[in-house]
């Protein structure tokens, strides 16, 4: 059986036909309609329809939809999805009535984690923690070979466990959340702070930006770091240190076999991952005798969401 995986992002709806080996056989893409829940189900249905047209009848058995937001425990309702303007929206039923196939909705980070666990960097492991270092931090847990969704469907909000008591205010309303210290946003904050305090040291980053402190973005820091610029490497060192600390906490709680690190910040490769590994080893409780989880880089990139949503629909 084939399925269709859909990944609803803030700007585009990407869909693909997914086979049981996690390969994407065909793809379509449409812009995300802004702030119109009704139109959203229409666009998803259209994408599904286009892909089905190009297949044999009955070849597609189900549809999985990944969305950046809280999805309830029945995988039917999107509770909140800030960047696409949904709140308590019965997305599963809306799509199902349009496409006439079984549909499941899933949080996009969960979908991506499932894809990595089944077909990517975690395919040989039963206990996996996926950490997506994007603008914030997304997470997905596969424990005992099963996606762990939690009681209310909102498990793995790992970016919002507290790293620093009384720490930096987070958009979530809380203080000191992990993503305030280890994420793309944190990387940029480091770069700008450093450039303000010592513009000379930050010369390369400033040049790769538009010359202004506020122009420094993750891309400039990453490129400077890959060139060996010490200031940019220091920014990565800070993010890596906090990332490793978070993985150490998750290891104490979950004892996974591996961590899979993805997201834009991980594009820096070893410049990020090597110091993350050292920080993890230095911060994990249990001493030198402890067998440590692997820290691996995600393998499926931006299409993990489609693959994961499609595969979850199969189950």
């Amino acid at each position: 059986m084939l399925t269709i995986g859909v990944d609803i992002g803030g700007t585009k709806v990407a869909a693909g036909v997914v086979d049981p080996q996690g390969q994407i056989l065909d793809r379509v893409k449409h812009p995300t309609p802004s702030d119109d829940p009704r139109a959203l189900a229409d666009v998803v249905a259209r994408a599904v329809g286009e892909l089905r047209e190009r297949r044999e009848e009955d070849e597609i058995g189900a549809v999985g939809v990944g969305v950046a937001g809280f999805v309830d425990e029945d995988r039917a309702t999107v509770q909140v999805a800030v960047n696409i303007g949904l709140r308590d929206h019965p997305l599963r039923d809306r799509v199902q009535e349009r496409v006439g196939l079984p549909v499941v909705i899933e949080n996009d980070a969960n979908a991506a984690a499932w894809a990595e666990a089944r077909f990517g960097a975690g395919r040989d492991s039963d206990h996996i923690v996926c950490v997506t270092l994007g603008t914030g931090i997304g997470g997905g847990l596969v424990l005992g070979g099963r996606l762990h969704r939690g009681r209310f469907g909102v498990a793995a909000e790992i970016g919002h466990y507290r790293m620093v008591p009384h720490g930096r205010r987070c958009a979530c309303g809380s203080h000191g959340c992990w993503e305030q210290y280890a994420s793309g946003r944190a990387l940029v904050a480091e770069g700008r702070d450093l450039a303000r305090a010592d513009p000379e040291a930050a010369e390369r980053m400033l040049k790769l930006a538009d010359g202004s402190v506020e122009g420094i973005e993750g891309r400039a820091i990453t490129q400077a770091a890959l060139e060996g610029d010490p200031a940019a490497l220091e920014c990565f060192a800070s993010v890596a240190d906090w990332t490793g600390r978070g993985l150490a906490d998750l290891a104490a709680i979950l004892d996974p076999e591996c961590f899979i690190v993805g997201g834009g910040v991980s594009d820096a490769g070893d410049i990020l991952i090597d110091p993350v590994r050292l920080s993890f080893a230095r911060n994990v409780s249990g001493g030198p005798g402890r067998r440590l989880a692997d820290i691996r880089v995600a393998e499926l990139g931006g299409e993990a969401g489609i693959v994961g949503a499609g595969d979850l629909a199969r189950r």
Copy 2:
């Protein structure tokens, strides 16, 4: 089928016959032999033998043994159990060859958590986090109805995830572990710090102790708090605040249906639990709309370890 659950503690080996409803039908108890792994298996075997003698032949089908230490993923070897002097000890085989029944070894906090999940405060829930506030903090996770042991058998070391970066040194070698702030040891440290800073305010606690700051123990603080002593209540407020913070972190990561709080500190009842609930509500990420996990007091008390070990042996 009946089973036997054994709980190996630092001072005694307690065993009981456990029925499928989690009832203990019979009990025996022996002192823990100190620092002699061979003798330990003998004592366990003796306890099992005594209980079997008082039953019909073949009534007992398996033995579960809970031990305070790291147990490997095969539930066969005790990797480290500091307070009973075991290291890389094949306890399962040693007991099995003596009793001639299937044996499983389990971490004692895991065994207790399983008992609470099956027969205690969590019997109606699928996703449970048990938090035992003893001298330190012990933990057990039941996720999706299954005991989560982790890849290497050491999941749920929740007392050693980091609460405070660069925080208090912990006996585990790390800094800032949760149990340095929310445990019996932390409660006592609070009481003594307060008594040193303001002996007048701490008068009641000092009197319930032997009059000396160093004589203040958890019992005195608990009793003073139950009497309404403001200083003792302040000590509980601190421990409760940090406990709630930890539960909030675990909720962000695991999204359980309930937390079950046990251990000696929880003997204080509402004096502890009410401020824990408030702290949890204040610190959990996700805002007012979020459905929150229940915080419940453990129901099975000191025998949860026997019940859990016995029931795990049945599976």
Copy 3:
């Protein structure tokens, strides 16, 4: 000799004739001209002129001007005064050429501290730290009987020493500044956080506000606390705890004879000061044998700025 003290605030310019005993003999007040440095000197000169007209000729010998901003080491130039729109402004000369008397400019918190040191709660002490808990935290140091202005005139920015590494972002650009935890703003943040997490517990505060979380201001919290409302008292307890921690740090560094606590938050009186004292005693380094600085409430209220500026002009 009499002098005139002027206190330039964000909304009004208040001036008074100050005698050598720190009494204010006469007063005038004008609105602060917005964002017009030239007009500001005119208004100050006008206030001075009005007060002089009502005196004997030559009775007034000098003018002191307190301003909320950084004043340089020569007490001539206002480097930055955000809320009245000055930057590198030669305020002393501008006023001097208009009034024809010797003029000194001083930071307003320094002026107020000097007044308390000379005529208020610190009049019998040589080493004084003034802490003004307003919206933020202002400070003034009198050490060895002299106002400590520092090398560049910006000493005693105590609200911006760091209380929490990696802590809450501050308007000053830094993170974790003391005033993010112990100030009127912090009190309000506590109240709103609590009301969001537990509206029922915050009922009294909400009622004293307009019923909305965002309507909760310091006034409502203070009134509720004075009525004995537990939730409001908890907000004060948090601010008091952090205040006492800061005083303990300042005691370790400066070893003053007394702290003088003023500002709007201190209007709550013992509800604030009692827990501040306890927190101070618990957090100060040096053990029970150490002789501790007094913690006193400011005595001169809102006119301390006029008195201090006037008296500093005399020297």
Copy 4:
């Protein structure tokens, strides 16, 4: 007039004849008598006597004695000096009655700070903060050209202001003191932690020690860092980061013209000072426009205590 400066350390009593230019003209040294306050005054008197014998009559006008401990506000009594076993000891009178000259007692870090302020790295500055990074952190403040001793004689205990709330326990009984993060002890802790977590990375430090983690001392880390060893440099980076944070806090409070950094850790020179300067610039409040205090290395080395005690006796 010449004076004699005496520096009482844990193992030796060093004395010298000090001229008004801060030069030491003659020296003697004796072992510190252990735990015998009476013998201590005898040894100090003997050292003074020997130096006077080699001078013209009446050439020596006064004696200053520096001691590692709390000295009261009258500079007469040693309140506590743990490492030489004094408690509430009238050292000034004991020495004075033996030598027949005016005597002042001073805390040794204050004496050394005074020497640096008068004759060393701070000789052109009025507002100076001395920071001695030894095993712990010692401090001395010269404000407005005067030694700031505080109300009770114990100012400048800067090693025990709190850097981290709820942080590492300190020998002083408090938690999170600065010296737990930025001192020789902190450097060694970093080195050992790193060697435990990653022995391979720490290979050079281990080799310069005796091969064991516990054998790693400050000397080995410093030597490895001077050779360019990345792991050792990382240890210095941590200590430098926390040092700069502390200087930033002190700048917010005191606004000095310069910081003078001395003590054993500063032997590493630029390897320490360069990152301290960067950390200071990044952490100081006030933004890029702020004029920053210089950070200088101490110039007088181990004899600053003698010079400072001698010079203070002259006043």
